[in-house]
């Protein structure tokens, strides 16, 4: 069992989980109008009073979660060899244009931890991706404890990008409401401590899944293809004997939705919830209290959900008045009681959802267990070996445009992909490497390309991520007299977009994940690729290394991986 033994939320609403929980219960919010220097327009967001840098934020959050573990009589040694740090962020240290992995390593070292931290940068689903990855790595037996922490600073970079997307609401947001008109951004550091443990009562992470829409890099699927598959994946449990069981809708106390309050996200989630047969389950969004805290969202919203349900209540959706989605779902603007299950006790399973740019969607099921004296078997997935049957490497110097033209000339029917020219360099590199790889695979195995499939995942590791595009975007906002933030450039500043581009091109509905890694180290990359096979629907992974600094410094090393199991 993967048990949650401690947590912390540091937000404008409080420095402890208890303070934050009380604020949500009382309906308080820190959403207010702000203005960043050098930006023509004000915006509504939930921001720390005093700016808190990315690394300082991570340290404060981790320290507070460690204190919580200590207070609960479950002290954790952060420097132990079997303790792993997992960091969740979209653009955490963008102020310094530095790889996330460098910040994460410094933070781990600050706590005396010598393990290479895992850094998840999977757009808005990062927090749940980080929890799912941590769970899988713990289950593989490599680590005993994972400290999972998420944070994003709402800098001018991020805020201007969301403004250019016309995605921000001028007032406090109104999730799922008929009058919703966009999201608010927010700052918070959220931390969860997970450990492998036999049944001792408390919350466990039961299951989780990530699926791509294979639809568009910023628009959610109108039919909720990815979110529906993620929900189905999370609700399907594997028992120790290999048999499957499905968590019934009636067993769920509530659904903690993404509920960003954009027109399309909330509509998509309502479709997913309805298609999954969960339309009667109570649903809520916490964005009206915190705004969208990006890398922290999956952790923060899970922590509030678990504590509230344990106390017997379901948070109100602040800002919601009237139903505003095409499919009816069970949202309320009021705090509700957790309903009783068939056993006469309050229900104790919850479903957490997130969706993000790059077409990614995540779902996680948590379960509150009684304190049983009977010991349960610890799940352990023996890590099966991987085989990389087809492999492609590219490195500078080379012209990505010339490589694209060569691919196009080779295959008149499918090689023409004008979208290539719209991509940032990292996505261009990923597109070319994956095209070469998949052409090679098709030639070797005779398999057909472009048939929709959900058994294939895309797992990419990078060091510099979208750095080249980050600098290009910064250029569109750095001068007051030439301030024209570009949405088409901004969207690619999320490094996981390349995984979405590959899924979109090839109609892959499986998991897509992006990790920031210190270098092209095969052991770490294969370890992360292997985690994707924990989703039993996955039979192969397009995975490996993509890194782009500039035209003279880039490299790609991708393979089609199969599990030897």
């Amino acid at each position: 069992m993967i048990r949650i033994i401690a947590d912390n939320i540091l937000s404008p609403l409080g420095a402890t989980t208890a303070e934050n929980l009380a604020a949500v219960r009382e309906g308080r919010s820190a959403l207010a109008e702000h203005r960043h220097e050098g930006m023509p327009e004000a915006f509504v967001a939930s921001l720390f009073d005093t700016p808190l840098s990315f690394e300082e934020g991570l340290k404060l959050g981790i320290r507070a979660a460690l204190a919580d573990a200590e207070a609960k009589g479950r002290p954790v040694n952060p420097s132990a060899a079997d303790t792993l740090f997992v960091v969740s962020s979209t653009k955490g240290n963008i102020a310094d244009f530095e790889p996330l992995a460098d910040s994460a390593r410094r933070v781990a070292q600050h706590f005396g931890n010598a393990n290479r931290p895992v850094v998840v940068s999977n757009a808005c689903i990062s927090g749940l991706s980080a929890l799912i990855t941590a769970k899988r790595l713990l289950e593989s037996g490599e680590y005993r404890t994972a400290i999972v922490v998420g944070y994003d600073v709402q800098s001018k970079f991020i805020v201007s990008g969301f403004q250019s997307f016309k995605a921000l609401a001028p007032d406090p947001c109104r999730p799922f409401d008929g009058d919703r008109c966009g999201l608010n951004l927010g700052e918070a550091v959220a931390t969860m401590v997970l450990t492998v443990s036999a049944n001792e009562g408390g919350w466990i992470m039961r299951s989780g899944a990530v699926n791509n829409d294979a639809n568009h890099i910023s628009n959610p699927s109108r039919t909720a293809e990815g979110s529906l598959r993620a929900i189905e994946g999370a609700l399907t449990l594997k028992d120790a004997d290999g048999s499957q069981s499905v968590i019934a809708a009636d067993d769920l106390a509530c659904i903690s939705a993404h509920g960003t309050a954009t027109l399309y996200n909330d509509e998509m989630e309502a479709v997913a919830i309805d298609r999954a047969g969960l339309s009667h389950v109570p649903v809520f969004s916490l964005k009206g209290y915190y705004g969208h805290t990006m890398g922290a969202a999956g952790l923060l919203e899970s922590i509030i959900t678990l504590h509230a349900v344990e106390e017997g209540w379901i948070p109100a959706t602040r800002g919601f008045e009237e139903e505003g989605t095409s499919r009816p779902i069970n949202v309320s603007g009021n705090v509700r009681e957790v309903a009783l299950g068939d056993d006469g006790k309050p229900k104790r399973k919850v479903l957490k959802l997130l969706s993000g740019f790059g077409g990614c969607n995540a779902a996680v099921v948590f379960e509150l267990q009684d304190n049983l004296s009977r010991p349960t078997v610890i799940d352990r997935t023996e890590a099966a070996g991987l085989s990389a049957d087809v492999r492609v490497t590219i490195s500078s110097p080379a012209s990505l445009t010339e490589l694209y033209k060569e691919l196009k000339a080779k295959d008149e029917a499918n090689g023409n992909y004008p979208k290539f020219y719209k991509m940032d360099p990292l996505s261009k590199l990923g597109y070319i490497a994956s095209e070469m790889l998949l052409e090679k695979e098709a030639a070797m195995t005779g398999c057909e390309r472009f048939t929709a499939r959900e058994d294939r995942a895309v797992v990419i590791c990078t060091r510099h991520g979208s750095l080249a595009d980050d600098l290009a975007y910064q250029d569109t906002i750095s001068r007051a007299d030439e301030y024209f933030p570009s949405p088409a450039v901004f969207v690619y500043t999320l490094p996981n977009i390349v995984t979405g581009e590959i899924a979109l091109r090839n109609h892959y509905y499986g998991e897509t994940s992006c990790f920031d890694n210190l270098d092209n180290d095969n052991m770490t990359i294969e370890r992360l690729v292997r985690t994707a096979f924990a989703d039993r629907r996955i039979t192969s992974v397009i995975g490996g290394w993509l890194d782009y600094v500039d035209a003279d410094h880039f490299s790609a090393d991708l393979a089609v991986y199969h599990s030897k199991e």
């Binding site: 016309k166 910023s218 020219y421 024209f484 570009s486 949405p487 088409a488």
Partner: protein, 83 residues
């Protein structure tokens, strides 16, 4: 309003690398099948109008009518430009 210049600005802003102004018909729909443009392209066209013509469009939904065709866009720019 010079239509050719606007077409060049559109090609440049949307990275329509394989197209020339001659490929964009004055009255053909910009969105839908034609050029394969999407919602991000629509947002970029809003930036284009602000950058070159000083037009600030607050509600992206208005774009739907303005970006019907190059002719439509040119007429809107002509009527609303501040630079």
């Amino acid at each position: 309003m010079e239509i050719e210049k606007l077409k060049e600005q559109i090609i440049d802003a949307l990275n329509l690398e394989d197209l020339t102004p001659a490929d964009i018909e004055d009255d053909a729909p910009l969105f839908g099948e034609g050029l394969g443009l999407d919602s991000i392209d629509a947002l970029e066209l809003i930036v284009l109008m602000e950058k070159f013509y000083g037009i600030k469009l607050q509600n992206p939904a208005e774009g739907k009518n303005i970006f019907k065709s190059v002719n439509c866009m040119a007429a809107y720019i002509e009527a609303n430009r501040t630079k």
